[in-house]
Assembly symmetry: C2
Homo-oligomer: 304 residues x 2
Amino acid sequence: MRAATVEIVEVSARDGLQNEKLIFSTAQKVALIDRMVLAGVRRIEVASFVRADRVPQMADAEAVIAALNLPDDVITIGLVMNKRGLLRALETKVKQIGAVCVASDSFAQRNQGQTSAESVESAADVVRFAKAEGRSAQVTIGAAFGCPFEGLVDPDHVVRMAKQLAQAGPAEIALADTIGVAVPEQVFNLVARVRQEIGATPVRVHLHNTRNTGIANAWAAVQAGAATLDASVGGIGGCPFAPNATGNIGTEDLLYLLHRSDVSTGVDLDRTIETARWLSQEMQRAVPAQLSRVDPFPSREHAA
Amino acid sequence: MRAATVEIVEVSARDGLQNEKLIFSTAQKVALIDRMVLAGVRRIEVASFVRADRVPQMADAEAVIAALNLPDDVITIGLVMNKRGLLRALETKVKQIGAVCVASDSFAQRNQGQTSAESVESAADVVRFAKAEGRSAQVTIGAAFGCPFEGLVDPDHVVRMAKQLAQAGPAEIALADTIGVAVPEQVFNLVARVRQEIGATPVRVHLHNTRNTGIANAWAAVQAGAATLDASVGGIGGCPFAPNATGNIGTEDLLYLLHRSDVSTGVDLDRTIETARWLSQEMQRAVPAQLSRVDPFPSREHAA
């Protein structure tokens, strides 16, 4: 049976912006994070500690984190690709380290200059090191459902990765459909299998809406018992391998799905829609997520 | 268990265009229909017999049907709202009559100037009359999941409508999320209940992607045993009650979902994508469906 509550991790300030051409100022990023925390989000990706020449949008990672002044119960996440990124992150007040490994060799090579197996070792090291330094740490398996270079990814391989990663004691393990190719049955089956194999470690799912299956996959993940879903207000972000594609699943669209399905999130839909509209103005373009363009349903009049 | 095959009814030439401002010529409509039949579609809405002053896009219904020259195994559908529309349709060579009734009084009044109960009577009459004249006939229950004026629609009411309609012997009964508000569990439950109540009569489901739940709802419908799904190439159509919203679920996006999930449709994805690109040019705007903007997955290289 599906859960009565699902946690949302807001990723617009990291994965969302990272794939957008328009560079946001530090102040704009802080405003985006503040708005989503005010909407009710309690875990939020705030930066990625990567090379500025590779990902210019993330050049001010330290400055963004230094500028944040969030309630104590909000967990900020900083993504790191390797030990060098981790050392940078540990110099900041970011509360949770997000390690990353990749399920296919070709993508792992392109993303981190490693094989898939090496990326697992490296991510497990990051988790162990971060925990030894007293930080919370979790890990994401990228391209878990498909690779732009190799096609479908063997679920057995992903399950083995998850088991190996679980031994490092991460706070959670995430399955990422980095390029937005998954379909619901695939998501349901992999989430269910990984949950079975890694026992008590919660599973988070990260989805892109590149082929319009994102919301269907989110629902499949919830049905399979995923504890947490990543989402990006406005559905911003695009896909690094599909220049015209839409981005992460939109937080407001996900909230509509979940709240109408009696799954609570603690995040306010109206405030999220308001942030999507603000973001659309800041980005000077329409956002791909849809709830900010339509009337509420059921409306207050309907409910009365 | 879900079916191994799902039938697609292409509705772009009717529901798709009907909600678009740009008026297509008869020749453009015929070209659209021809392209989707060449892609493999075997049942297709070609026109609606409504008043030209109310729906200008459908003013050439008779001319479109007269101009068609399709293979014998293709079933053309003409939608009718009342006896007057039916009499017009029967003067043409259209193969199947689509009757319509509405699940809420306010929407039925706006759509057809009737109560919901009166619209059921009237649709059942249309089905009986069409069959007596030797035409195939089916019926759609509009606003089956929600009404823009009344909010949520009582599923018990929809089930009662379906049972009453079934007595007229329609070829199928469709449940339409006319304003795009449904969520997957709601679709699954209503499709399953209606199927149970109407016995052998197949269930078709008509979905809009207004709130980004369209593809998730399509998958829920398939899981609940729907035999047929409506879709519109390019996802064109908008929503009459949400001026900025996207339209019907896109045929190409639905094909991606189904084919990747090992559900066959007989419709070719590549040809459908090609038609979406052609349609985008004819409409002079980007279409909302997404498969025409991204690379195939898995690609032919992956499969090799």
